[in-house]
Symmetry: C2
Subunit: 132 residues, 2 copies
């Protein structure tokens, strides 16, 4: 296997979009991932204020303890027919199990995020995926 | 940071949907991720043969050297209004940069995958995201 194939993850620091600390010891038993990918379409996509409010809300949301790793993103420069780049924010989470994802959905931090931020978006699409 | 927040990645073995070897040494300089998420809708979604052909094609595709980490998935059991679970296969890739993703698009392995497998699907949606 090429040595370039490596982890994803990085200690959460300002400017870093991925959290996660590598742990060799936790690898051998890792068999399952629950991938929860959310795309947000803002009501006011050209408002930097609204975008920042959502980003700040997601930063708080990232503290939910069952989240294994997250990535917060925005559309890349790529542009082909099959690419949907109309969303404002991508919110990608990895959980260890469906149970952890279910717990996240009902976590008070998540409920507060929805309460505080749901007025910002007009559309959300979620794709939940499990290992094949 | 909670100790549960860790990397994603695992040496590619049968049954493992994520590739990647953790490398502590490569962390400190990691500042950028290019997330390429593809959803495939099969022409014959109820055909196990077609699904398996696509899975086998993606396994070969995963050998492209610029891929840092990948996850191959299928819809989870979750089911809410905002969830799209109509796709057949989720193909999630992490690259170190847009340049690496561009290289992947034109890699002979990728071109061969498209040639061999594109007849299997009727629709593809791609979301490319970069760090905020």
């Amino acid at each position: 296997m090429p040595t370039r194939r490596q982890f994803i993850g990085k200690a959460a620091v300002a400017g870093s979009a991925i959290v996660g600390m590598p742990s060799l010891s936790s690898f051998p038993d890792k068999k399952e991932f629950f991938v929860h990918h959310v795309y947000f379409w803002l009501k006011n996509p050209d408002s930097p204020d609204d975008k920042n409010k959502l980003i700040e809300g997601l930063k708080k949301l990232s503290k939910v303890k069952t989240i294994r790793t997250f990535h917060m993103g925005q559309p890349a420069q790529t542009n082909r027919d099959v690419i949907d780049r109309s969303y404002s924010i991508s919110w990608l989470l990895f959980f260890d199990s469906k149970a952890d994802q279910d717990s996240y959905q009902s976590d008070p931090v998540h409920l507060k995020f929805v309460e505080e931020c749901s007025s910002l978006w007009t559309k959300v699409i979620v794709y939940d995926s499990i290992d094949i």
